[in-house]
Amino acid sequence: MKPIGQLIVMLSLAYALGSCSNDTTDSISPLALFKNGDFTTEGQRIPIGGKLSFGIAASAGSAPITNLRIQRIANGKVITELDKGVFITTGGLDYVFNAVKSGAQEEQWRFMVMNANRDSSIITRTVLLGDGSAYGPITHYTLTLGMQNNTLHPNFLDLHSGNAFSPLSISGNEASVDLVAFVYETGGKLSPTLCCPAYTGSSSVTTHYPEIGTWSTRNSTLYDYYSADWSLVKPDEFERAESDSLLVASYNPQNVSGLCKYCYTNKIIPFKTENGKYGLVKVKYADTSKDGIIELEVKIQQ
């Protein structure tokens, strides 16, 4: 068993025994803790644009863990960075969350773990603003992908490297794919759509790329469709972005999904990959046919 697992087991046992001595509650709440390791510490000073990293471990209590919520409280505003539904019955929760320091002097990060009995455990960590700026370099590239029936262009994209794969070359590279594109009819319109391998549901990626259903690793990329719908990132801002500051600032985690519809020509979509990298993708051109193409310009944190 990994050390973190042993820690969780010991803590759970201690908690359970401690609870038993109180002899009052029938249900045991989850227990959340910060992991040790290369993570942001309490009160640490991080410059604007600097990397924040939090490791959370939690035991379930007397019901499976069903919710992990991470909130950033800064300048009187509460932003939910992550509100994720899970179903963890054994082994506990082990999660690493990466973010970027904002310009606020003080940020309080609140981590809540809830189980199926709606019992919860909350831990917090405060991060302070350090000197200088730590906005980092970006990777910038342009490429063309094929829609689901297009066999002339690659269909699967690794956003971090810009490498694109076709069905013939994907074997062994499935775990690096972050983005696929397809066209389907929705709301009475043909929609060029950006998606990710992990997305399921009635508009699931496997409808259009059945082979993805056999992949053992399916990455989740979250697109900020709200910002995209309302054109909150201006084209000239996108053109001028040379560090990751715009990429981070334009991503609003409260309106995100692994499916982004209506990605017509000139749309700019903020996104965040499963690895925690922020980026912007501009649709330079998009067909509305299933054998068409989509030309993308991508800027992503290195």
């Binding site: 499976p64 069903t66 919710n67 919520r69 939910t80 509100d83 994720k84 539904g85 899970v86 179903f87 809540m112 809830m114 199926a116 709606r118 919860s120 009819e185 929705t186 709301g187 009475g188 992990a198 997305y199 399921t200 549901g201 009635s202 508009s203 699931s204 496997t206 409808t207 059945p210 259903g213 989740s220 979250l222 469709y225 709200y226 719908d229 409260q254 309106n255 995100v256 999904s257 692994g258 499916l259 519809k261």
Partner: protein, 774 residues
């Protein structure tokens, strides 16, 4: 000289004489058809003051009969009455009779109770009444109570998945196919529509208990108040006729569907009766989702079900002068809805239902009265889980409670039969959506109370050749304690935050529902009637106090909703050119106002997956409905019945009132959704010594998917395609106590799809073995 021996002999003789004078004998017999020799079921026998009826094998028994000569009268609908006598002379303990009845080939003019809240013959009511007789029930291949109604002209049953549907609705005469609240459904005269959504849990009513179904078409609000806007369906259950009787049956069918039923009942000569019915039914089910959904969603599983029910009834009824009855039903089901991620049963709906009723009725000279108390409590739970960007799991838990008092009294004086009474009903809902994968909890609750007072005069003139029916009912509805509150909102529900409410002032509405109809019936072969009636339907609690997701967007609660109204005029006639043929026709015209629709407010909201329109239920339109219903039945011989019917309906929105300046919709002249312009049904029932057979077919014409009459993304058309299905039922009795039957529904496997692209079960075959106990 008087000796002890003489005294003993005298006493003994006296005792023997008295014993023989007061000895109790039994009269048994068989009633059969002179033509087919088949036993006649349900024939009424009176022997002196004793009354009974024949059982499933045409036999009867009368106990505790003293010596003497008794008049015997045997009557049965469709047969000439028999009159004779029997001598019980004490020679034998049991006297056996064998009586044959001659078929009377004329249209069956049954008694119904629903049309006037008292017994009346169908031909004497100036209106369109349909009766599903025990024969039609026995020969139809229906699996559920509502499916029997699909064979009636102008009646539409929306049950997309057969036995696997957790909801169904029955509507008629052009009113939308998905609004059960516009048709009142009664079970033995007591309403079963829930105030929460106006819906009826049709699965709660076991087909094995049904004796007959009465359907009154057109607004029935003059007698029954709200929900009776389109018509009334009254399901009458069986009653015991023997000291001990019953049956046990086992069914097996498609998709590993199994049913186990037991029915025991008895009626004693002192008037006490009892009945106990039990049902357990389950099925492995099938996959309802479309191929595209199956490819897209790895969590799709079969939609299955598991249900159980028990009904206990007890009462007293020695004569029509007084009857009292208490009835208890418990029903519990779990129905899978075809998706499973982590939860043990996946997505399911559950109904945990209790129903208690107490009825009293009686007659004294010219007065007939009845009253009933009822309570229906349903604990509904829906488990919803799915996986898109991440895992979502939430439950809907709702307690729906309906209770009330209904009363009626009829008094006949000369040509007038006055019927009046009052009804009090209360419906309430206390529901919440509880999320397990986020912190949200959404409460919605509300109550609605109804008071109704009614009076009706039925006037028979010229030796019943002219009948006039005039009625009026006044109803008051009161909505109160409504609330919609969100606790600990996250992104799942925060978009509903602005629509919370509680502590509103009570809302009260009232409705006056008149009715006037007249009939001219010069003889038993012809009648013509005309009538006007007005119906209304108050809003349901779901529209008054719940905001949430609906298909196509988000709907906002509207506690200010008013009732919708329908004025109806109709003209009908029945004609019997021969004793074997009956033709019936009705034409009707209805104008509705303040009809309730979901309409876009013009605003939109991000529900977590992009903007969706915000809709609200509003009283926004006038509708115009007109149509024609025709029906023909032909009984060429006693053992065969043929029928066919056709209905045409036009239902359009005539006056659409936008609710805001940003509402760009205009529904004027659009057709109401889910209303077929054309429908027909036909069938043949054949009785024979080899096998009894029933074959029926139904055609349902195209129907618009939405009220905009616009192209639908999932149906891929503006209208659902038409559908034609054929059902067959075969049955045969073996060894007196065993009955075997086979039901084949949709024999040609015609598949239909609902608005979400889910598919019907297709051909569905069940076989049953039944063992009778008597």
């Amino acid at each position: 000289m008087i000796t002890l021996k003489k005294i003993s002999l005298t006493v003994t003789t006296l005792l023997l004489v008295s014993v023989s004078a007061f000895a109790q004998y039994k009269v048994i017999g068989t009633i059969t058809d002179t033509e087919t020799q088949a036993p006649i079921v349900g024939a009424h026998i009176s022997l002196g003051k004793s009354l009974t009826a024949t059982t499933d094998n045409g036999t009867f028994e009368i106990f505790n009969v003293g010596k003497g000569t008794y008049p015997v009268i045997v009557s049965c609908v469709g047969y000439t009455k028999y009159q004779g006598s029997v001598l019980v002379d004490g020679t034998n303990q049991v006297v056996t009779l064998s009586i044959q009845l001659n078929p009377e080939r004329q249209y069956i003019d049954e008694l119904v109770v629903s049309a006037t809240r008292k017994e009346n013959r169908i031909s004497e009511i100036p209106g369109r009444i349909e009766l599903i007789t025990p024969e039609k029930l026995a020969f139809s291949a229906a699996q559920t109570a509502d499916e029997y109604l699909a064979l009636l002209p102008g009646v539409q049953v929306s049950r997309s998945f057969g036995l696997f549907s957790h909801k169904s609705s029955v509507t008629m005469r052009g009113l939308s196919g998905n609004e059960q609240a516009r048709t009142l459904v009664l079970l033995n005269g007591i309403p079963v529509n829930k105030a929460d959504g106006g819906s009826v849990n049709w699965n709660l009513i076991s087909t094995g208990e049904i004796e007959r179904i009465e359907v009154v078409k057109g607004p029935g609000s003059a007698l029954y108040g709200g929900n009776a806007m389109g018509g009334v369906v009254n399901i009458i259950t069986q009653e015991p006729t023997k000291p001990f009787q019953g049956s046990v049956s086992i069914d097996y069918g498609t998709y590993n569907t199994q049913a186990y039923r037991a029915k025991l009942m008895g009626k004693h000569s002192n008037g006490f009766f009892w009945a106990a019915n039990g049902l357990y039914q389950k099925s492995d089910g099938y996959i309802t989702q479309s191929l595209a959904d199956r490819l897209a969603n790895p969590f799709i599983v079969k939609s299955n079900f598991d249900e159980k029910a028990i009904n206990l009834k007890s009462g007293f009824s020695k004569s029509p002068k007084f009857k009292g009855e208490v009835d208890f039903t418990y029903y519990d089901d779990v129905r899978g809805t075809g998706e499973k991620v982590y939860q043990p049963e996946g997505n399911t709906t559950e109904h945990d239902t209790y129903q208690i009723r107490a009825t009293l009725s009686g007659t004294t000279q010219n007065l007939t009265w009845s009253s009933a108390l009822f309570l229906l409590e349903e604990k509904y739970k829906r488990v919803s889980e799915w996986y898109k960007d991440d895992y979502t799991w939430y439950d809907v838990q709702s307690v729906r409670r309906d209770l009330g008092l209904m009363s009626s009294a009829s008094y006949t004086v000369k040509a007038h039969t006055l019927t009046g009474g009052f009804d009090i009903r209360q419906g309430e809902v206390d529901a919440y959506d509880i999320y397990y994968t986020s912190t949200d909890k959404v409460d919605n609750k509300g109550k609605i109370r109804f008071y109704g007072l009614y009076l009706q005069d039925e006037i028979s003139l010229f030796d019943k050749r002219v009948t006039i029916l005039a009625g009026l009912r006044y109803d008051i509805s009161q909505f109160y304690d409504g609330a919609f509150i969100i606790h600990s909102p996250s992104a799942e529900t925060s978009f509903m935050d602005q629509y919370q409410f509680s502590g509103l002032a009570d809302e009260t509405w009232s409705a006056l529902s008149p009715r006037l109809s007249a009939q001219y019936k010069p003889n038993d072969s012809f009648r013509v009637y005309a009538g006007y009636s007005r119906g209304f339907r108050p809003s349901v609690l779901d529209d008054l106090c719940r905001s949430g997701r609906v298909r196509g967007g988000f709907k906002v609660a509207n506690p200010m909703l008013k009732p919708e109204y329908l004025n109806n005029v109709e003209l009908g006639a029945d004609f019997k050119p021969t004793q074997q043929i009956k033709i019936a026709g009705t034409t009707f015209f209805s104008r509705g106002n303040d009809f309730l629709y979901y309409v876009s407010t013009g605003d939109s909201i991000d529900m977590g997956f992009g903007n969706r329109p915000i809709m609200v239920r509003a009283n926004i339109s006038d509708v115009e409905i007109y149509g024609l219903e025709s029906d023909i039945s032909y009984t060429p011989a006693r053992f065969i019945t043929l029928f066919a019917n056709y209905a045409y309906t036009s239902a359009k929105i005539k006056g659409y009132k936008p609710i805001s300046t940003t509402d760009t919709n205009n529904l004027t002249n659009k057709f109401l959704s889910d209303v077929p312009a054309h429908s027909f049904a036909a069938g043949a029932f054949v009785k024979s010594g080899i096998v009894n057979a029933g074959i029926t077919c139904k055609y349902l014409g195209q129907r618009y998917v939405n009220d905009q009459n616009a192209y639908d993304d999932i149906v891929l058309a503006a209208q659902y395609p038409s559908a034609f299905t054929v059902d067959v039922r075969l049955s045969r009795q073996f060894f007196k106590h065993v009955n075997a039957s086979v039901n084949i529904q949709n024999i040609f496997n015609e598949l239909t799809y609902d608005s979400k692209g889910a598919v019907s079960p297709g051909r569905f075959i069940t076989a049953q073995i039944q063992f009778k106990i008597d």
